[in-house]
Symmetry: C2
Subunit: 74 residues, 2 copies
């Protein structure tokens, strides 16, 4: 019932948004107060995020949670 590709597709959607802001992974992670290595793993789809953590990311990207998930195909 679970979809193993969700974190990967979401990470790709997050990366596309972050690149659209012309920010490096490092600068964006610093901006939202997240460890760089952790943020990098999110973009690679290697973390099963909680919603509250994902909201920190979406707020930093300036996009709603629902929009970000829709862009990831969910």
């Amino acid at each position: 019932m679970e979809d193993a590709t969700l974190p990967k597709k979401l990470g790709m959607a997050i990366r596309a948004r972050r690149q659209g802001l012309k920010l490096s992974q490092e600068d964006f992670a610093d901006h939202i107060g997240m460890h760089r290595a952790y943020y990098s793993a999110i973009e690679r789809g290697e973390r099963n995020l909680t919603l509250v953590t994902l909201e920190r990311v979406s707020t930093g990207l300036g996009v709603s949670l629902s929009m970000l998930l829709a862009e990831a195909g969910f």
Copy 2:
């Protein structure tokens, strides 16, 4: 930067959808293979869900993740 009300608003949106299906908490939890007490805590907003767990819930409700989050106001 985090929003403490996210789990609570999401729980309310999940409850509304589940009630729309005319299913008890217990029956719905059984349907998606989740412990009843854990599912009940989700509806009360007392769990900070991961996306993969939330996807199990949204799939059971027959609604997309993005739609469910939009209904919760996120």
